[in-house]
Symmetry: C2
Subunit: 707 residues, 2 copies
């Protein structure tokens, strides 16, 4: 990324408004008016060939007529005219374009959009949009958008793919008490996209948290790489995860992925904190923008009412940081300030008698105690206390504690006075909410962030690097694929698929094709009994249904009988089926059935799926995804992600399964679909049998569908 | 319930404040002040032996000195004095007591509380509390509490077990725009409890929705019966559902129940709408108090931004009312008001161009269309529209549509002007929220309510009656239990347990005790082969671990060999085990394993559990509960409640299981634990084998633990 070029686009020192207008209500009018109203300190150049002045500023017929330098041009002209205007900007030496104009890919005119980008690139200009509201920046006093209001000042930066939501959020930020330094509308993302903006915001001194409303990424994988390297928390709300209106998925693994699962996995891999809905996005933004990560799992809660304390404890369990009782010395220290009928266990309950001195003392004591990793302070407005006194006490406790590396979140329930105190707390850097569970959810965001980034003792980073395996034979795999393509096929047979898996070091059950009964016996003798025979036909997908599988064959006679039976059944099942022969396979000992699958996700590319076989996948759809590639260490963590995970850990008195071997297979598989991402559309190894620890796993059946 | 007596307590025409004070800040001061400040039209009698006047009102040494009648006395004196004061109230003919005083069962003085109730009862007085804030009623202008503010007027009534939360909510109701006519604090519920209050509020003309914050019911079963019969929606938040601080559960079924599952099931059975957290309680209250039930599942969404429309669609799926596309004629009708780049499918997207005329036309059109069962209207504040214009248009559309039997919920995202418009909408009967998903959740509450109460075409009531089975032999069951008790046991053997199950018509595998090898053979010959032999010893709980089970015995020789082997293994396993003999059982053909269990829940009494066997219960804890008894029809619905339900429906190519037979078994089981609720603490039938449709089920093992 060229930081300076984006600086020019996003922190311009001068703005030309092409299509500036004197007609109130027009977007070209609003853009100029907003730049004036926000006291923008840079130069504003209205461009309009028909007017001498626009809203009191001298206007120019074209950017080429502007005397000074232009950092950014806002394009507010019909889409058809934007190419010519862009040419002029290029010639003028404009650094960046904010293309407010619409009428491009969003209505099917991708051609116009491509031409626009190509023109801008020719002159080295970056381009935000088209089809956007614009950009806003409080610290630069710059509202280069048609949104009439700047958001409440704060430390977060929002990138929104919805213009309507961005405009609505500018005003909503005041009533929600969540402040933003910047709001950036991305629209069609023809050039500058989420990845670019995150990279830039990560270096921006005014931003402490990057907030994303995303409908879909342009280049998901690049975004993930950037997000993974970012030093600031990113929180994202992905919309469009319901099945409503989605096209039916073409494949099994595709169907399992649905619309949200791969996004969710990808964002988690990138260390992005996820939000469940719009309020949650802003609630989490507030905490992430104001407070440090929670570097451990010991959450302390202090309240003045048993009821809200219990609600907070319920929420803590729901949001992944279940409460523990405070250690004895902390309980003893708190007891000095808590009446006998109150509690010091956790939640600490100051009772309705608790006033500002008790809040001051207990908050300070808890924050300073080494056991505490994070603190939630709850207050129910009572007739005894002025909410502002409680707010001041909390703030004073934080300051006097000297602790700056532990997060704190606050909840007040009350009326207008409580609202004022809450606003004051937020202004003083303490995220404050209107319900106990929301404060707990907000601190859970700081805990999730710490966990994903390996901050603190409990965390284990998920953002580690992948080191490719060297002992793989990509050429052999590609040769098998080329051979299949040469016969006009877009899929590999079971035998071919297994060879590709084997080329990447996955443990496959040896399988060979027999075209005659004698060949079958010969193969079986070479492999050793027992063996399995399976029909090989491009026209028979469900081999078992066609009577095309015979297992546990222990002698030459068994093999001959099975061979004949299979052919007879297959012919009866589908008389016109093309039969290539019968696969002879080593019979694998029985083990725990798991499934590895892959898809080539339209956003994130090669993506692996893991699940347990049988009812776990068929009934429970108990599967988990990761964008490839993943290290064996990461794969091991992935194995614990499914509901059925205890089965691999050795539930029901069985020996634990060889998760180390399975994780390596999964990691190798992820490398395989990544290396061959240009060839493989989808694949699976189903089933893979996993044995007791130290005994590995075995791919028993496999399938690859080419792009 | 005596409606009139509770009327006297909850809508008093005169109030005596015992412990009234002239000292600001004291509760006895606040109580009098609040009655004066709220313009209470009834008589207020301060009682204080030391003062002639309290806050300008004539004071009396005792209620006995008061010249007029007293409906209610508020007791604000030390707990120890309340008995004497209650005596005086009784002699005076006071109708009800609001016992604000604390110092009773909440600090271990249950004795004092019992005496208080006994005293009140002797005089026919009902008693609210002790340990409460009091009651508030907007329509009666009565604030008989120490909470300084009355809530925002509205149509809901709130009953709260947390006093701090109640006081905080009075003021919070204004900032949250949710109105209440009444707020009632219940405290220790020594006399009047949730059930009484729901019954009374159900007849109260000012109440349209009953809102409950509950930590625990006193008599859960009575509450359920009352809630089930209520004609108004009830919405409840149950706090204290996290495992934090819970005692370890004593039994398997008990452990599965956790702290929230039985409550959740019970409230669902009672047709109570549940809330997930505090905001959700108030958001749902607002919708339930203002709008009719949603009598079907077709939800239409109208928005002015694609982004919020998609967020609403996501929420609709999450909250159980996934969107469907609008029918063609509705799409065509909407098209007249929606620009080409907008959508009419559902969500309908008016785009940023949508103004009040488009909202007016589309809301009216959608409401009037027979396909639509409920409507969510979303608005993002834009520079083009005054939020108040949009609000007026929505209200006008509702009025002009003439439709009153379909619910509507609204979401505005915006600033202070949007907030004012939202407040106006709520005042005009339209529940309005600050985020699209919250509006969807609110309408989902109206859908859940309709579903639970069988309102509309999609609904099937869950609140049907249970008709006991006549062909049961309770005497036989009790005789078996008595026999076991006579030997000093508090559990039944497998054979005894099965006899009890059989007495209630459950299909058990015939099982008899053999004390010798010859007896075993004789029993096997009578039952017919194959049989199973199991060790019978009070000291061996895990029979298989002790080598105490032999299956599939097909001849007399098999039985003899097995008999000897079992005894040998059992003696080796536990040399001092008391061995009663060996159970001989018909071997049941293999089938799908399920588990029926029961607990005697401390709140709701006899409660059944159902789950699939094996990994479903052990790994996934995939079980569901119902308070007993339940009809076979209800049990059938219960079978569909678990994740593994497709297995019973015939997944994976298997024939559907005999769910009708299983449901009857479950229903009979529920009657059994209900009838014998005074005897049975816990029980289970594990496994029960379920066969293909028409082939019934079989209880293979059973266990009963006595109280």
């Amino acid at each position: 990324m060229d930081f300076e070029v984006l600086n020019g686009l996003l922190r311009p020192k001068s703005v030309a408004v092409i299509g500036a207008s004197n007609t109130p209500g027009k977007i070209g009018y609003l853009a100029v008016k907003n730049l004036i109203d926000c006291n923008y300190p840079g130069r504003v150049y209205p461009i309009n060939p028909k007017e001498a002045k626009i809203q009191g500023l001298p206007a120019y017929p074209s950017v080429l007529d502007v005397p000074g330098e232009i950092d950014v041009a806002m394009l507010i002209v019909p889409a058809a005219r934007t190419i010519a205007v862009t040419e002029e900007c290029g010639r003028k030496g404009v650094k960046g374009l904010i293309v407010v104009a619409s009428g491009y890919s969003e209505i099917g005119r991708k051609d116009l959009e491509d031409e626009l980008v190509a023109t801008a690139r020719r002159y080295g200009m970056r381009l935000l949009g088209p089809n956007i509201v614009g950009i806003m920046c409080n610290s630069d006093k710059c509202n280069a958008s048609f949104g009439p209001f700047m958001p409440l000042p704060g430390k977060a930066a929002m990138i929104s793919q919805s213009g309507a939501l961005l405009i609505a959020m500018t005003v909503a930020s005041y009533v929600r008490n969540v402040g933003f330094d910047k709001m950036i509308s991305v629209g069609n993302m023809a050039d500058v996209n989420f990845g670019d903006l995150v990279e830039w915001l990560d270096q921006d001194a005014q931003t402490t948290c990057i907030t994303i409303y995303v409908e879909g990424f342009q280049n998901g994988r690049r975004f993930l790489e950037i997000a993974r390297r970012a030093h600031k928390p990113i929180v994202a709300l992905k919309s469009g995860v319901s099945a409503h209106g989605a096209a039916a998925a073409a494949s099994h693994t595709g169907a399992m992925a649905g619309k949200g699962k791969v996004y969710d996995a990808a964002l988690q891999q990138a260390g992005v904190v996820r939000a469940s809905d719009l309020n949650n996005l802003f609630d989490r933004t507030l905490a992430l923008s104001l407070q440090p990560p929670m570097a451990g799992s010991n959450l302390m809660i202090i309240s003045n009412g048993g009821g809200v304390g219990v609600l907070a404890a319920d929420a803590a369990e729901r949001y992944g940081i279940p409460l523990r009782f405070a250690p004895d010395d902390l309980q003893a220290a708190l007891r000095a300030y808590v009446p006998e009928i109150g509690s010091v266990k956790n939640p600490a309950d100051l009772t309705g008698m608790g006033g500002w001195p008790e809040y001051l003392a207990t908050v300070k004591t808890a924050l300073q105690h080494p056991w505490v990793h994070g603190l939630v302070v709850l207050f129910c407005e009572t007739q005894r206390n002025d909410p502002m006194d409680i707010a001041s006490a909390i703030k004073r406790a934080v300051d006097e504690s000297g602790v700056t590396d532990k997060p704190i979140a606050v909840s007040f329930i009350g009326g207008a006075e409580a609202e004022r105190a809450m606003k004051w707390l937020v202004e003083n850097g303490l995220p404050t909410y209107g319900a106990p569970d929301i404060a707990v959810n907000a601190i859970a965001a700081l805990h999730e962030y710490a966990q994903m980034h390996g901050i603190g003792r409990d965390g284990e980073p998920v953002t580690e690097e992948f080191t490719p395996y060297c002992d793989v034979d990509a050429d052999a795999a590609r040769a098998i694929i080329a051979q299949a393509r040469a016969t006009g096929r877009v899929y590999l047979s079971e035998i071919e698929s297994k060879k590709v898996f084997a080329a990447y070091g996955l443990p496959v059950a040896v399988t060979e094709l027999a075209k005659t009964e004698d060949e079958a016996v010969q193969l079986a003798e070479t492999m050793g009994y027992p063996v399995v025979l399976k029909i090989m036909s491009p026209d028979i997908l469900h081999k078992s249904d066609a009577g095309g599988v015979k297992i546990n064959l222990r002698s030459a006679e068994d093999v001959r009988a099975a061979y004949r039976a299979i052919l007879a059944s297959a012919r009866a099942y589908k008389p016109d089926a093309r039969i290539e022969g019968v696969a002879v396979q080593q019979m694998a000992p029985s083990g725990t059935e798991v499934i590895l699958g892959s898809i080539n996700d339209p956003t994130f590319g090669p993506t692996v799926m893991f699940g347990l076989g049988g009812i776990f996948i068929e009934i429970l759809k108990d599967v988990t995804f990761r964008v490839a590639p993943i290290s064996a260490e990461h794969a091991l963590a992935m194995l614990a992600d499914i509901q059925g995970a205890p089965l691999l850990a050795g539930a029901r008195g069985e020996a634990p399964r060889d998760r180390i071997a399975l994780a390596e297979a999964l990691s190798r598989y992820s490398q395989m679909i990544m290396d061959l991402g240009d060839e493989i559309a989808e694949s699976d190894a189903n089933p893979v049998l996993v044995y007791a620890e130290g005994h590995g796993s075995k791919v028993v059946d496999a399938r690859i569908i080419l792009r």
